[in-house]
């Protein structure tokens, strides 16, 4: 465990839990859509939130390697958007 106080550690975990809750709430948008782009957008939000949670966990659990995980996620985040734009859409905006 970290040499820092118990209070700071708990705070970091609490913020991480709050962000995770945010992420799960955002699932509603994936569910509702209406378009494919809205669903993809929500998935991109999850990426940013996960990065923040990983940074907090790295500090709270004293596992510095988790910062490398966050670095990887932000580095590769754009790939999903690029892959998404390669899917052709039908005129009715379907793809749900």
């Amino acid at each position: 465990m970290s040499h820092r106080g118990y209070a700071v550690e708990t705070l970091n975990l609490a913020v991480a839990a709050f962000l995770l809750l945010n992420l799960l709430a955002g699932l509603g948008r994936v569910h509702r859509g209406p378009g494919a782009a809205d669903r993809m957008l929500a998935a991109l939000l999850f990426g940013t939130t996960t990065v923040a949670v990983l940074l907090l966990l790295a500090e709270a659990m004293a596992l510095p390697a988790l910062r490398d995980v966050a670095l990887l996620l932000v580095l590769l985040a754009a790939i999903l958007a690029v892959a998404f734009t390669r899917i052709p859409r039908r005129p009715d905006g379907a793809g749900r």
Binding site: L19, G26, L41, L45, L56, E59, A81
Partner: protein, 101 residues
């Protein structure tokens, strides 16, 4: 509690608030573009606040530098993704076959 810890706590709280704003925008805003706008800004500000707050807790400069790098890359990724998505939605709606800039 030292000043750094106090500041760090405040920044983490602020970051969490920004993330909450982003989620509310994602769920409540009426159009895709409005949601795109809300997310890319609020979330990355939130990530910046969290990273800064954690940098204040960090015990070495390297950790702070890595946090800054993560945030910088997140900004780049968000910019590119938002641009690509917005362009894709515009096409999908058949709008604005605009000339290249």
């Amino acid at each position: 509690m030292t000043l750094a810890e106090l500041l760090s706590t405040g920044l983490l709280g602020l970051g969490a608030a920004f993330f909450l704003t982003g989620t509310v925008g994602l769920l409540r805003f009426p159009s895709t573009f409005a949601r795109l706008h809300a997310l890319t800004k609020a979330d990355n500000l939130g990530l910046g606040c969290v990273a800064l707050g954690l940098a204040l807790q960090a015990d070495s400069g390297w950790v702070a530098a890595k946090l800054a790098l993560v945030w910088g890359l997140a900004l780049v990724a968000a910019t590119a993704s938002a641009h690509l998505l917005a362009r894709c939605i515009l096409r999908e709606r058949g709008g604005t076959r605009r000339t290249p800039p």
